[in-house]
């Protein structure tokens, strides 16, 4: 214990105190830099759920089944299935960026690309329609040819107008020969019941309701196999940015398919409930009119030599024929939507 420190001690201590300043400054600046960049990374929070628009259709049921079974969580992805009532509404939500991806057909993929100008990437093919897309007509109308001059309900900008166009051509008719009433799928049964339309281009579960109201099938997709391809598509940018999550979604989807193979009763019950129809109706729609595409089938469509491009070409050609007559691919008019901010 030194009671009176010598001068050299004083000086040394003073020097030491001065030399503290430099290192402490370095530490402070380093901390500042670290803290300044803390919380960096890309803009959106990583844990924001992927939102996928989906409408009732037997082939999409596996996505709902995966949701109900908690497969998405298992695969490490947070998915929010945003239920819409029809392909048109689903595509509209997608166009408005309310959802990141959507279940739909190639028609919606193409019309969406055309209407909002961004490339859309197909990441999964769920099934193709083999009879479940159909035209149901009033009992007075015997066949396709009987549709001439009749009022036919179809949803604008969706698969239904392509199906209608293809069907009419088979009967030697064109859309000029019929009275096309643009109507949402959900509203078709009531319009049919009230006699506002004579026929409807529809698919389950709406087709089940219209059939119950006496509608009979004059055309179905089994006559145009391979055209009505149901897919999961994302905005290309999202597909690139969140590829891992999308892979997880695909894994969960195929897992649900495998589950349904093993436990069809439970699976159909869940899927039917989520789509608001009976298990029997669901089962028949799925098994009779839809060809489910599993994990092993993906390459045939999406692979380097897959047929997706060809199908796209066919449909684009069909849409181009409709376009000059102003019947399709109209940029979505704001008044047509009912959503949006009040």
């Amino acid at each position: 214990m030194q009671s009176t420190p010598s001068r050299s001690d004083d000086t040394r201590r003073a020097h030491r105190r001065l030399s503290i300043v430099g290192p402490s400054l370095l530490v402070l600046i380093a901390m500042a830099v670290v803290l300044g960049t803390w919380g960096g990374g890309d803009g959106a929070p990583a844990h924001a759920p992927l939102r996928v628009g989906i409408n009732p259709w037997p082939g999409y049921g596996f996505a709902m089944l995966a949701d109900s079974l908690g497969y998405y969580e298992d695969e490490g992805v947070e998915v929010r299935l945003v239920e819409q009532s029809s392909l048109g509404d689903s595509r509209r939500a997608f166009d408005r960026h309310q959802v990141d991806g959507m279940f739909g057909t190639i028609v919606e993929v193409i019309t969406s690309e055309q209407s909002h100008g961004h490339p859309v990437e197909v990441v999964l093919v769920a099934d193709y329609s083999d009879g479940s897309d159909m035209i149901l007509a009033h009992p007075d109308i015997p066949d396709l040819a009987g549709l001439r001059g009749k009022r036919i309900g179809a949803e604008p900008g969706t698969l239904t107008e392509v199906v209608l166009s293809l069907a009419l051509r088979r009967a030697g008719l064109s859309t000029n020969d019929v009275d096309v009433r643009w109507i949402s799928a959900l509203e078709m049964p009531r319009a049919f019941e009230q006699g506002r339309i004579d026929a409807a281009v529809c698919y389950p579960p709406v087709s089940v309701e219209i059939a119950d109201l006496g509608g009979h099938r004059v055309f179905d997709s089994s006559q145009i196999p391979g055209v009505v391809l149901d897919v999961l598509a994302f905005d290309a940018a999202t597909a690139a940015a969140r590829a891992d999550e999308i892979e997880a979604i695909k894994r969960a989807f195929f897992r649900a398919q495998r589950y349904a193979e093993r436990h069809p009763d439970e699976a159909y019950a869940v899927m039917a409930r989520r789509q608001g129809i009976t298990k029997e109706d669901f089962e028949s729609a799925l098994t009779e009119g839809v060809r489910v595409l599993g994990e092993g089938d993906q390459d045939a469509f999406l692979g380097p030599n897959g047929s997706l491009g060809q199908i796209r070409g066919t449909i684009e050609r069909e849409l181009r024929q409709l376009e000059p007559r102003g019947l399709t691919a109209v940029p979505l008019p704001n008044s047509a939507g009912v959503g949006g901010e009040p």
Binding site: L28, L35, G53, Q84, R273, V338
Partner: protein
């Protein structure tokens, strides 16, 4: 300064300055990081509630506007697709059933059966009750709003129903949390940078300069001057204190040296004086003892002894006068007269006095005039004589052979008269000249001078003091072995119209008219009545003896009171010799009383008080003149004779 200790870290100015800044920064940063988050959460919660209510109202409005069930369902799913909307459920009917929802599977369900994981119990209850409600489910990051649906909703069969909107705040909360973290990070980083910058600035601008000052104070060095005003002030104050301490130390040292020198000079002077006084005293007392015991029978030998007593007494008197003059000069109380004076006369008188002494030593004495000299100047003749006498006697004393020359010169333009006294004596070294030139009393060129030549060492000091009082001073030129020249300069006063006397050299000036022999003790005072008032019996006796020898009739009084009692205004004496310091009634009071009683006879003060102002005091009291003790016989006779003459004419005047 050794008492100043290095402060502990807690007490250092660094710590005290930087710690609070750092603390304030931390607190400010934490607050500014937390506050936005809290505020944002609140605002977002509020906005989500508003939106939930707004969506619910929109759905309700659509229902009340008559939209069909399918349209309503599409509306619900479209609005439900919004990112922040978790679920929308519309119920109607009794019992309540779900008629439209974001999940198709819910249609037709009892609202209380809605899955609790998706819709909170509180929300489901409010929906079932169809009442206006809103709330939040913090654990699920949800807020909800329930709005009842009014009439007009028949088409969608929703009349009397309600709409529940559940908002999902998790995404927005996550975003808020992310941004809060980012902002906090940036803020804390910025704050740390600010603290670092502050540390640097304070260190560079304040602490380092302060360190410099502190180090200087510890080392007792001069402090550097920091640029900061306050520190600069501190440093300047410290430097000033230090400088003044150093300076006062040096001044103290110098003063001490001076005091020692002065003390030494006084001691030397006292020793010298003691010697100077004892020498004549030895002669006086010795001879008086011999004479008193009548050991000498030869009258010639006795007369020689008496002459020795007399000259030694004169010497003693001169020494005492010198001491008085020095003390007056030192006390700056020396007064000089300013009367018309003939400078040539003063010089010639002195030369006449000193001539014989010089001749005795084989030294010539010569008076020269370099310029015409005014016949009269305004000065003090006595003091002028004293100065010249001093210088000449010095010159004669220090000259073994050769001569002493007195050279007068006058510069009428500057009204200045100079008297140079040059000798061919031993001269002085520059050091001696320097010492003499300070004109300090008690100083001679060196101690040996006193032994060889005698003298008190006061002469030059007095001469210079007098010359200064007369408006000039003394200048010394000297060369060792060749001789010295002391030049005194005095002011002359105005010289307009004063006749100038052309100069001639005077060798061995003639002796003045002054009586050289014994004072004639003739009958100059015959018949005069003189009253002597003195308390000293010896003095009374001496005066009586001297005055009676001159033929006067003498009456003695022991003090002023006796004199007042005895003196009769009707029969006044011819002269009163009044001692001034006496017991009972002193000379001053007695004189005043006499004058008050109407005595007009001359009164001459006789006093041993020789200090400046004494003469004025006497004259003021009413005396006509002043004689200082010891009594000079010639002076006594001359004064008495003169005043008796004045008194007689005064008496005749008053009688007439």
């Amino acid at each position: 300064l050794t008492g100043l200790r290095i402060p502990s870290v807690g007490r250092s100015i660094r710590f005290r300055l930087l710690m609070p800044v750092a603390c304030v920064c931390v607190v400010a940063v934490v607050l500014s990081a937390l506050a936005p988050r809290w505020l944002a959460s609140r605002l977002i919660g509020q906005r989500l509630h508003e939106r939930a209510e707004s969506v619910a109202l929109t759905v309700g409005y659509a229902a009340e506007s008559g939209i069909e069930r399918e349209g309503l369902t599409r509306l619900v799913t479209a609005m439900g697709a919004d990112r922040d909307v978790a679920h929308i459920v519309a119920v109607a009917g009794d019992p309540a059933r779900v008629v439209a929802g974001t999940r198709r599977a819910w249609t037709g369900m009892d609202p209380s059966d809605l899955p609790q994981g998706l819709v909170s119990a509180a929300a489901a209850d409010s929906l079932a009750a169809r009442r206006d409600a809103s709330g939040a489910s913090r654990d699920r990051d949800q807020v909800f709003s329930v709005v009842p649906i009014g009439a007009g909703a028949e088409l969608s069969r929703l009349s009397g129903g309600a709409v529940l909107v559940v908002m999902d705040s998790s995404a927005i909360n996550a975003e808020v949390a992310l941004w809060s973290r980012r902002i906090a990070g940036v803020l804390i980083g910025a704050a740390l940078l600010v603290v670092a910058a502050g540390l640097l600035i304070i260190d560079a601008a304040v602490l380092r300069p302060l360190d410099g000052v502190v180090a200087a104070i510890r080392a007792n060095d001069a402090a550097p001057a920091p640029a900061t005003e306050e520190l600069g002030l501190v440093a300047a104050a410290y430097n000033m204190n230090r400088a003044s301490a150093i300076a006062s130390g040096a001044a103290m040292k110098r003063a001490l040296v001076k005091i020692e020198e002065a003390s030494h000079a006084k001691s030397a002077f006292l020793a010298n004086m003691s010697h100077e006084i004892r020498t004549p005293m030895t002669a006086i007392l010795g001879y008086l003892e011999v004479l008193g015991e009548r050991m000498v029978s030869d009258p010639a030998e006795a007369s020689e002894m008496m002459r020795a007593v007399r000259s030694n007494g004169d010497l003693l008197m001169a020494i005492i006068n010198d001491i008085l003059d020095v003390s007056r000069i030192e006390a700056q109380q020396l007064t000089v007269e300013r009367i018309e004076t003939d400078p040539s006369r003063a010089v010639l008188d002195t030369a006449a006095l000193m001539g014989p002494i010089a001749a005795e030593r084989g030294v010539g004495l010569r008076v020269e005039q370099a310029t015409p000299i005014p016949e009269r100047i305004v000065s003090d003749p006595t003091r002028l004589r004293q100065i010249v006498n001093n210088l000449v006697s010095n010159a004669v004393k220090f000259t073994e052979e050769g001569r002493v020359t007195i050279r007068l010169a006058c510069d009428p333009g500057r009204e200045r008269l100079s008297i140079a006294v040059a000798d061919t004596g031993c001269g002085m070294t520059p050091e001696q000249r320097e010492a003499i030139g300070r004109f300090r009393p008690f100083t001679q060129a060196d101690a040996s001078v006193a032994r060889r030549h005698g003298g008190s060492g006061l002469g030059l000091c007095i001469a210079n003091g007098l010359a200064e009082r007369l408006g000039g001073g003394i200048r010394i030129e000297s060369e060792a072995g060749r001789g010295s020249t002391f030049t005194v300069a005095i002011g002359t006063g105005p010289l307009d119209g004063v006749p100038m006397r052309a100069g001639t050299a005077v060798e061995r000036p003639p002796a003045p008219d002054a009586p050289a022999g014994p004072v004639k003790a003739g009958a100059c005072l015959r018949g005069a009545r003189i009253e002597v008032v003195d308390d000293g019996p010896d003095n009374r006796r001496l005066l009586r003896f001297l005055l009676e020898r001159a033929g006067a009739g003498v009456v003695l009084h022991e003090n002023g009171q006796r004199a007042l009692d005895a003196l009769d205004p009707g029969d006044p004496p011819d002269l009163v010799l009044m001692d001034m310091q006496m017991p009972e009634v002193d000379g001053y009071a007695a004189t005043r009383e006499l004058r008050a009683r109407g005595f007009v006879c001359p009164i001459v003060a006789v006093t041993a008080h020789a200090m400046a102002g004494d003469r004025e005091g006497c004259l003021e009291a009413g005396c006509d003149d002043y004689l200082s003790k010891p009594i000079d016989r010639a002076g006594l006779y001359e004064t008495c004779e003169r005043w008796i003459g004045v008194g007689r004419s005064r008496a005749r005047g008053s009688a007439a």
